[in-house]
Amino acid sequence: MKPLEGLLVLEFAQFMAGPTAGLKLADLGARVIKIERPYKGEGGRQIAIKNLFIEDDSLVFHTINRNKESYAADLKDEDDLAKVKKLIAQADVMTHNFRPGVMEKIGLTYQEVCKINPRIVYGVVTGYGTKGPWANKPGQDLLVQSLSGLTWLSGTRDDGPVPFGLAIADMACGAHLTQGILAALLKRNKTGKSVLVEVSLLESVLDLQFELLTTHLNDGGRLPQRSSVRGGGHPYLSAPYGIYKTSDGHLTLAMGNLLAIGRCLGCDLTGYEDKSSWFEKRDEIATKLGAHLSNNSTEYWRARLEEQGIWCSAVYNYQQALQHEAFKVLGMTQEVKLGDGSGLITTRSPIQINRKKLYADKAAPKTGEDTDKINIEFNI
């Protein structure tokens, strides 16, 4: 049995942050129904990466919304709204990410929903919280990364800002929404009363940086200093932490005793006996190591280092990583059956419960696919 079986979640949330939370809840066993405007459905159906679509919906939409149902309702239409309220009355959780003011107009604010269902957990995602000059700014991943300081952590000193190359703010925020909802359900089960959960993309990306921000707040406000050498792994960590070019690929070195690593590689690192130089002269050391490592293959170095228990690895792309035995043994993929009979390979939930992997191969719904069935089932 999956841990959230029996829970009903209504997802008004669109795009990525809210729906990734919905996916996590669904994979943990909850029943998740997307409430979507008729025909067009949620905005995320048209957000494509690489222009890839499956029938009318983007591949991204399919990835985020598998294992869910769809109920079509025009929230501006009184009859539809009345039906949705009947559903809300029977739900455990609802989520939305409308801009401030939208739920007020519709009449589904937290206060109003509590009157319909005094035991509901009401989850809201915003871009930047509900106060202040950014409250109405579009809550979009790259913008949030740019405002949060995150873009000064990756890449090298001369690169300018380097964003994380995927929707990190959305993903982090979806995870926080999931945590908030689950904690709120525990509270609700104890008190019998509704709970409001609020998260924002910006707070989530700040939380993601919490260890580095704490360092910054207590070191006199110094800014992160990225390495001037390509491959630097972390602006706050000493040499050799980073990725180095070899004669046939790349080699990653994690933290470790630099002198022992130098000896193992046969790289002359005299002059760096003082541990404090490993941070202060990080770039100089990385240049020396890089020149040395370029003389031989990744596997040659890796074997030498591993023999002495030094933390290192090769650097794989998807073709190499997803073909590797260490990936296959995880059983990390599953094939979702699409309406046209074809299959879509995607990943599963990363959480295992009672030694069971949580698979769920139900495809993302078409807009309103489950409306009739739900009307009957919930006496609407």
Partner: protein, 381 residues
Amino acid sequence: MKPLVDYLVIDFSQFLSGPSASLRLADLGARVIKVEKPGTGDICRSLYTSDVVMNGESSVFHAINRNKESFAADLKKGEDLALVKKLIAKADVMIHNFRPGVMKRLGLGFEDVIKINPTIVYAEISGYSTEGPWRDNPGQDLLLQSLTGLTWLSGNAEDGPVPMGLSIIDMLAGANLAQGILACLLSTGITKQGALVQVSMIESAYDFQFEAITTFYKDGGLLPQRTRANNAHAYLGAPYGIYRTADGYLALAMGAVPTLGKLLDCEALTAYTLAADAFDKRDEIKAILAAHLKSRNTRDWLAILEPADIWCAEVLTWNDLRKHEGFKSLEMLQDVIMKDGFQYQTTRCPIRIDGELLYSTIGSPALGQDNEEIIRELIEK
């Protein structure tokens, strides 16, 4: 009332992933007790980030372990182990990230613990799961980034592998563990049966890339292609990226290319009228945009684009951000105090419950500072 009030978490984990999960549970209201090795404690205490030492220990440790208690116990000593087992008997959750097999040898594997406490949620984090050729390898963040394809998503096409500059996989694994624990607390509340939650860094790394990997499979196994310059997402078309301006940088998240051309007074962009151009010709388009945006200040561009509802933003450093009203209004920072009076500033929990910001003034614990109180309150009682 914080949602996890009255829940007791015993945390054996070290470094970042496990302790970040227990920090979240602590901020949500749980009582979290770190069980640490006498003498050295959590290795993270001496894992220095840069050269910043706070009250004799690493800034990272202080960030991750505030709002917790510390119980020093040597799990290899019979009497200490007996005390720890009594603690476990009272706990709702226990967490560890020892390498596969270690807890079993100590007599604290899931099957052992469930006999001591049949309703416990037992949570463990590993590097590479408990199976496969890498199961005994070190679960270290940069290695995981390197092995899972993640380093080919950030930076530009010719940059080689570019890691994300913080411990992203640790953070994600911790977040997944917290979710698994909370979900199982809900089910054990009903079934009265304990549960085992297992999360690995490698599965968390792949889950994080679920969009890109699904695209990779659908797309005939083509590798993600970063743009030559101004890359922000290997799978998104122009203008998605960050551009240099006369006095700083501008992030541009969307906008039809010809529309941008008109708004920005950049004639060359108006020629890209096909919707597919934005992706197919993104290198060309980005190069034109990059050259054009250098001519004026960030403010000037924002003044044109924002009223036209084009998604864009300036690019801030932490120092710019902290001065900004948009940041101040989040009230994201808090001061915490250690038992010896040492005070430091850090961030708060990013989740709001019933409109309340979840602050806690409790700083990180000195090693073993709470032994006596814990024995009196939880073990002897």
